[in-house]
Symmetry: C2
Subunit: 200 residues, 2 copies
């Protein structure tokens, strides 16, 4: 297969479970590369530098912005989040599939640059369940919970800008949906020119 | 799920193995309805009326044509083939997925009417393997084999008019590809409006 790697963008509102689905996807598909974002927010309990995020200062982040070293970035809840460009581009060029787990604002920036990417929106089964999950996480203040939940409806309306939506009613089932989407995208005629040429 | 059923069109050159893949797909997915074509050609050994085809006379076929009772039809190797319209439309309206296994000429007619259908082209792993399979089937005369193989290259070039291509190097693997395509298509945002509305 000569085709370049796929850019897989997984996005959705806080509490929809995009992080859990990405973890489950990566566990079952060791060949997919995960892009680690940079952020200026403080680490949550248990988060590891270079695995969950690159935790950097506001000054460092703004330097990366000036150097055009970010694929996308967003200021969400007073913190910067961004995707370092090099890692993604190098892996795609080498034919590796790259997974981005990013917020909606960032995802839509990437979509403008990567028409060929696969944009998947993770939906909660209901708004009630979404709130339960944000509360249940226990990592945020009451104020943060209200801010996140308040944005959810507005965020979910952005789903129409995505290619695919996966309802996260069950992690295993939702992960199988994402895997099917990736497999199907690789069967798109527009991505198979080299295979077809080699048959003929 | 309020969404209507999916129209799944599986097509490709003779010998690519579309029949075997369809059989394998239906075995594993009992809820998919298969549309049985009508034809004026003679039954091959083992073919069953109403299961493989409706074997009808030329006069009967032309009557259906006049009554606009066919979704598509084609004259291939001097015989008519066509898809009775009622069965397909009724099942799609009831929310059932319907599978059409048809020749390329017919598939492209369906594509003009059903923009929403999923058009999957089954490719052989190589032209050599394609010829081996046509010969190995042992149901056709030497002349028929030459006619079918001679058309193969021209037919394979039609793949660019399809949405997806699946290489049939292994029946099981190819069937999993088709299943992934169906699952992914159901996750398309354009097909999920009702689900999204019910969440909001």
């Amino acid at each position: 297969m000569d085709q370049k790697g796929l850019l897989i963008v997984i996005s959705g509102p806080s509490g929809a479970g995009k992080g859990t689905i990405c973890k489950s996807l990566l566990n079952a598909n060791k060949d997919i590369k995960i892009s680690v974002s940079a952020t200026t927010r403080s680490p949550r309990k248990g988060e590891v530098e270079g695995k969950n995020y690159y935790f950097i200062s506001k000054e460092q982040f703004e330097e990366m912005l000036q150097e055009d070293a970010l694929l996308e970035y967003a200021k969400v809840y007073e913190n910067y989040y961004g995707t370092p460009k090099n890692y993604v581009l190098e892996n795609l060029d080498s034919g590796n599939d790259v997974l981005l787990e990013i917020d909606i604002v960032g995802a839509l920036q990437v979509k403008e640059k990567f028409k060929d990417g696969i944009f998947i929106f993770i939906l909660p089964p209901s708004l009630e369940e979404l709130k339960n999950r944000i509360v249940g996480r226990g990592t945020e203040s009451d104020k943060d919970i209200e801010i996140r939940y308040g944005c959810a409806i507005e965020e979910i309306e952005q789903v129409i800008k995505y290619d695919y939506a996966v309802i996260n009613d069950d992690i295993e089932r939702a992960t199988r949906d994402v895997e099917a989407i990736i497999k199907a995208e690789k069967c798109k005629v527009s991505r198979m020119h080299n295979n077809i040429k080699s048959i003929l």
